[in-house]
Amino acid sequence: MADYSIWVCEYSYVPNYHKSGVLYGAHNQGYVKLPYCYVVIKGKDHVAMVDVGYNDKEYGKTLGDRFGVENWRDPKTVLAEVGVTPEEVDTVFVTHAHFDHFGNVEDFPNAKFYIQEREISKWVWAMSLPDRMRWMMTAVDPGDIVRGVELARDKRLETVNGALTDVLPGIDLHPAEDSHTWGSMWVTVRNDGKEQSQDTWVLAGDLIYVFENIKGPGAAVDLDEIYTPVGLATGSQTNLVLATEEMMKQVDYDSHRIIPVHEERIRDTFPSRISKEGLRITEVCLADGDISKVAA
């Protein structure tokens, strides 16, 4: 029995992203493709998303010109591949406030947004620091926070303090403070609806970029594999490793059940297809009675 279908939907990508950004210490090891994706969770009379991407109207030229981001498509186009419209999305879990995750709230007019309160309060704190500490403000657009003001006025923004169980039936939020960002969180789907679930999926946000963050090279310490954290951490890599352990506990150490949205190779581990726009749709699981969106 599965309550929810889950799809990872690519909306853009960077063809050549330096590997050290996704894997701590991987200096001079070349480049990897970095897909930009959000996650759609559909079932129990809800359509939810994990993150909403960014708005090309605001950033497209800058990103295209300077950072090689290519093939951005709007949510209407991307979500149509899984039979969903942006207007149908009723819930959004914002894993963190970086622009490529929280930068397109206006395209989801009926959604209620959940974000960790710490993610906002610490960004406000960081913005109060002297200019020499500006690094702490990286990748956050004040405009995204301004749009958060609008959400708050419309009572469509919910700040969360720590963990939250059953925010939708069988869906939980878990904080990872001072890790990738100040108030990052991950989303857990207990897809059988049970408290002690045997069908758990972890949607990791940017706490896990690629498979090697869970199964990194361990030869230096005489192990086959060790957790090797993400390269970019406003908090600390230690907290990323601790969060990885918590996520692994939730899936009974079956790393296959932790979904890294920036990982191109999930196309090899889950059924996937490429849309006519050249973007990947990956089907993590299907709710009972739902029809595959990737089958030929």
């Binding site: 050290s20 800058t62 300077r66 950072f67 970086h98 309160e117 109060s128 990286t138 958060g148 609008e150």
Partner: protein, 182 residues
């Protein structure tokens, strides 16, 4: 980019009926990034663009802080947000920004650009002053509505003054998830 293109950009970001335009004039078209880049060959324009970086960064932070503090005040229903150190720092930066703006000497074609920065400063100042109207155990909805309107207006003016080629950008992407490090 022509003025017509800029108009398209502004109107595609903000609907014509957007309440952000309800008070006072529209955010005025400022020299867009391409135009500004072309004028950077002029020494006076280059000096102006360089001098803009400090007040632009001031405003970027002031606006972000006002927005964040308003969200926290509204969602936590705490009026004592007005006593936070962060708000004091924000006010100090707003004051400092005024001094920085006073030193800007744009060449005539770039005067509208400075006007956008000045408008962003003026509206963020109004938003900051509105925090004083928050009252404990009161319905502060009208105050929040005011702050929201003013900070969006300030952001619209600052957005009109962005210029990536001059280093005037809303998001610092130098170390961002999207940055390829090149």
């Amino acid at each position: 980019m022509s003025e017509a293109d800029l108009f398209t950009r502004l109107t595609s970001v903000h609907r014509p009926d957007c309440e952000i335009f309800a008070e006072g004039p529209l955010p005025q078209p400022a020299p867009d990034p391409d135009t500004m880049a072309q004028t950077l060959g002029n020494e006076e324009a280059a000096r102006y663009a360089e001098a803009c970086r400090v007040p632009f960064e001031d405003l970027r932070r002031v606006i972000g802080q006002i927005a964040g503090l308003m969200i926290l005040a509204q969602l936590s229903r705490k009026a004592d947000i007005a006593d936070l150190t962060e708000l004091t720092v924000c006010r100090d930066r707003w004051q400092t920004c005024a001094a920085h703006l006073d030193t800007l000497r744009p060449p005539a074609p770039l005067a509208p650009h400075r006007d956008q920065l000045a408008a962003a400063h003026a509206f963020s100042g109004k938003a900051l002053r509105s925090f004083d109207a928050l009252r404990p155990q009161a319905d502060n909805t009208p105050v929040f509505d005011d702050i929201a309107r003013l900070v969006r207006r300030a952001y619209a003016h600052l957005s009109a003054a962005t210029s990536p080629k001059a280093g005037l950008e809303m998001a610092d992407l130098t170390h961002a998830c999207c940055s390829c490090g090149r």
